[in-house]
């Protein structure tokens, strides 16, 4: 073997050996971020781009109100650099996961514990004393703000500020990604507004009161809930009252979340001549809603079809 051939083989072998290694180093450099919901996962990915591996704890078809705290969630959180939570008492279980994960990066009070709800205008904050006789009320207000695309700027700003605390070197990239994402939202918002503009002021009945941010954004009015009180199933008496109200108000749409008792929702809709549909309560909870924009797209299109 000549010296030249030996060098060529050695060079090729070194290149072949080092190439996967280089990729591995690149993957190791990525931030590891865990979010409580798939909505926040999608919004976080919009900010981080390929600078982070983002994973959600709740599966898309799970109600994020009351998640089973599995130790497998703690595995996700164990090595995370940041944990992004919805806040407003939607995902208090995330703190239990953080405790069990033994990861000081993400415990409440640490820089990597990011609450996406900071400073947003919260709807349905109780103005009077509340207790559990009113059902599963949220004393600090309705926590489902991520269903409103108009909240994306504020939420992504919170995510950006939190991530800059742990990775200030990526600030410029995060800001660039965020602006590109908001430009897409801006484009889509015009389309969504025009789709629902003809139905402004239309009454809508919901199964569980988690759609108020979405409905308010597009000028639709929530006039009733299938649940008698939040989290309390409907009684026969309540259903009779709701059916009467829907007939009086000529309600055309009853919307429900994927984990609801949809048979009951359909029955009520049939009795009143309204249409019933399941909307995507979280990113990925309905087929074809893999991203935040897809989710809003699906919800707006479904609402527009129901209200025709």
């Amino acid at each position: 073997m000549t010296m030249r051939r030996f060098l060529a083989i050695a060079l090729a072998a070194t290149t072949a050996w080092s190439a996967p290694g280089a990729q591995a180093v690149s993957a190791a450099d990525k931030l590891r971020i865990v979010t409580s919901t798939t909505d926040l996962k999608s919004l976080t990915e919009a900010v981080t781009g390929d600078l982070a591996e983002v994973d959600a704890m709740a599966r898309p078809n799970q109600n994020p109100h009351d998640l089973e705290v599995r130790p497998s969630l703690m595995v996700k959180v164990r090595r995370a650099d940041a944990m992004i939570v919805n806040g407003l008492e939607l995902d208090a279980w995330a703190d239990v996961v953080a405790q069990g994960a033994n990861n000081a990066n993400v415990i409440p009070g640490s820089p990597g514990h990011i609450d996406a709800s900071r400073g947003i205008l919260v709807l349905e904050v109780p103005k009077t004393r509340v207790d559990r006789s009113m059902g599963d009320v949220h004393p600090v207000g309705n926590p489902h703000y991520t269903l409103d695309p108009g909240m994306a700027p504020a939420v992504t700003q919170n995510i950006l500020e939190g991530l800059v605390r742990i990775a200030p070197q990526h600030r410029a990239a995060f800001e660039r990604n965020r602006q590109q994402f908001l430009a897409k939202i801006d484009d889509a918002m015009g389309r969504w507004n025009s789709m629902l503009a003809p139905y402004k002021g239309s009454p809508v009945v919901v199964n569980h009161p988690l759609w108020i941010y979405l409905l308010s954004r597009f000028g639709l009015v929530q006039v009733g809930t299938v649940e008698e009180r939040p989290g309390i199933p409907a009684t026969a008496n309540h259903i009779v009252k709701l059916v009467n109200l829907m007939k009086e108000d000529r309600v055309k749409a009853v919307i429900a979340e994927p984990w609801s008792d949809f048979k009951l929702v359909e029955r009520i809709a049939q009795e009143t001549g309204a249409k019933a549909a399941i909307l995507a309560a979280t990113v990925g909870s309905v087929k074809g809603t893999d991203t935040f924009i897809d989710t809003v797209d699906f919800n707006v299109k479904t609402l527009a079809q129901m209200l025709k």
Partner: protein, 476 residues
């Protein structure tokens, strides 16, 4: 300012007191009305002054943001967000991923999120109250011999555990929980008020470690760390009652955990405690401690459920200063179909082995030390097969128990079907029947007084449980 207002009001009242005596009722009413208006005007001024000061303070705080903070990018017009509060204070931190340096570890950190979501007047910790009431009906002879599942409380409806709990972050590095519990332990109706738990956990320790110290329910096996109101059945399984006593293993000391950074969940735990358990570890000396250990792992089958496995050990000395070791294995499987709020099916089982030296008196009246190896287990299965509607509130459960006595010869076994009704997440009722059989009676159980008539025990249970206020999410 507040003192000035108060003084002004008092002086005004004194000034008008004397002439008022001389005036008629109408004049008095008019003057009182005038004073009320003046006072309201002063209140209004005072409020405005306070608001103005708060505003100035907020402006000053906003100006003090570090230069590194991001400028807020302009928002797209169509997607304009609702008004937001001032941006969060940001501070550059070391890049993640790398090991923290000694300086990183000792440097104080800012309590970034401590006051998040806390408005004026809100507590900085959570408060919850739980009430757990149990009634049981059994034979008269069982009551006489105190041979039921609630010894000394047979044929009574009593508060088993009414608990006030406080829990939350102490600071960015530690959290604490304090549980004060009242319970009825005897027939006379007197309540026993105790500190059920009071401990703090250092959560910001490096390398995936945590340290818990204080009084706590030990993490031995699956059930021991869970308070009675959260058990999936009414009474303590026979094996745990025989091996640890009615209250379980509750100790004061230290417990450290480590979760290594592995692709699967593994928790390793080691503890050192006084040893205050009357039944198994009563040496009560931290210098001659009760040592505990536990390893726990978890398999997530996604839509097909999840399985948790654990092994625990506790080694110390009995009140008679004899060696005592208890080893336990536990498993829990839970199947929660996609989109369900509760498990459709769950199985829990624990197997314990007690290895201890016991003092026995031979036929000549001499005390001798003998080694005893006793074993016991329980298996529970719960079925809640409906996801929606009224039927989804009902759970059918069954438990089978079998255990030897750790300090005497003999075995007992029991079976127990029960029905649980949950009107809501915060209220629960349970009805059950338990049949216990004992192979023989033994002196330390005090069943011999009535000719061994506690060998066959039939019991009916009624349980009512409520939760008010905050309650932490349940672990798996």
């Amino acid at each position: 300012m507040r003192a000035f207002v108060a003084t002004a009001v008092v002086l005004s009242l004194l000034a008008v007191t004397a002439p008022v005596r001389a005036q008629d009722a109408e004049t008095l009413r008019r003057e009182m009305e005038q004073m009320r208006k003046q006072f309201e005007a002063m209140q209004e001024q005072y409020k405005k002054a306070l608001d103005s000061m708060a505003e100035r303070l907020e402006r000053i705080e906003t100006r003090q943001e570090p230069a590194a903070a991001a400028p807020v990018p302009s928002q797209p017009a169509a997607a304009a967000p609702p008004p937001t509060l001032p941006a969060a204070v940001t501070t550059a931190q070391p890049a993640p991923g790398g090991m923290p340096s000694p300086m990183d570890l000792i440097r104080p950190r800012q309590p970034f999120a401590l006051y998040e979501r806390r408005g004026p007047g809100q507590l900085l910790f959570d408060v919850g109250i739980t009430g757990d009431f149990v009634g049981n009906l059994t034979q008269h002879n069982v009551q006489k011999n105190q041979g039921g599942s609630f010894p000394g409380l047979e044929n009574l409806f009593f508060p088993r555990e009414v608990e006030v709990s406080f829990f939350g972050q102490i600071d960015p590095y530690a959290r604490a929980e304090v549980r004060i519990e009242a319970s009825q332990d005897s027939r006379d109706g007197d309540l026993n008020l105790t500190l059920a738990e009071g401990n703090l956990t250092l959560m910001a320790l490096p390398y995936g470690t945590q340290l818990k110290m204080g009084k706590m329910r030990n993490r031995f096996g699956y059930l021991n760390e869970i308070h009675a109101h959260d058990w999936p059945f009414t009474d303590n399984p026979n094996v745990l009652q025989q091996f640890f006593g009615t209250d379980g293993l509750v100790e004061s000391g230290f417990e450290a955990t480590w979760v290594p950074p592995l692709p699967f969940y593994l928790q390793l735990l080691g503890g050192v405690f006084n040893g205050q358990n009357d039944v198994a570890f009563g040496r009560n000396q931290i210098s001659n401690p009760l040592a505990t250990g536990r390893v726990r792992t978890f398999f997530d089958f996604d839509e097909w459920g999840a399985l948790q496995l654990g092994a625990s050990v506790a080694a110390g000395q009995t009140p008679q200063q004899k060696n005592s070791t208890i080893i336990g294995w536990d498993a829990k499987y839970k199947f929660t179909p996609g989109g369900w709020q509760h498990a459709a099916f769950s199985v829990i089982g624990e197997y314990l082995m007690s290895l201890r030296d016991v003092v026995v008196t031979d036929s000549e009246g001499n005390d001798q030390t003998r080694f005893r190896n006793s074993q016991g287990f329980y298996v529970y299965a719960g079925l809640q097969p409906f996801n929606h509607g009224e039927l989804s509130k009902w759970l059918l459960g069954f438990r089978y128990d079998r255990t030897q006595y750790p300090a005497a010869s003999g075995t007992e076994w029991a079976w127990q079907p029960f029905l649980t009704y949950n009107p809501s997440e915060f209220l629960r009722f349970r009805l059950g029947y338990k049949q216990t059989t004992r192979s023989q009676c033994c002196s330390y159980l005090d069943f011999q007084d009535n000719g061994g008539s506690a060998k066959q025990v039939s019991e009916y249970f009624l349980q009512a449980t409520f939760v008010m206020g905050a309650h932490p999410a349940h672990p798996f």
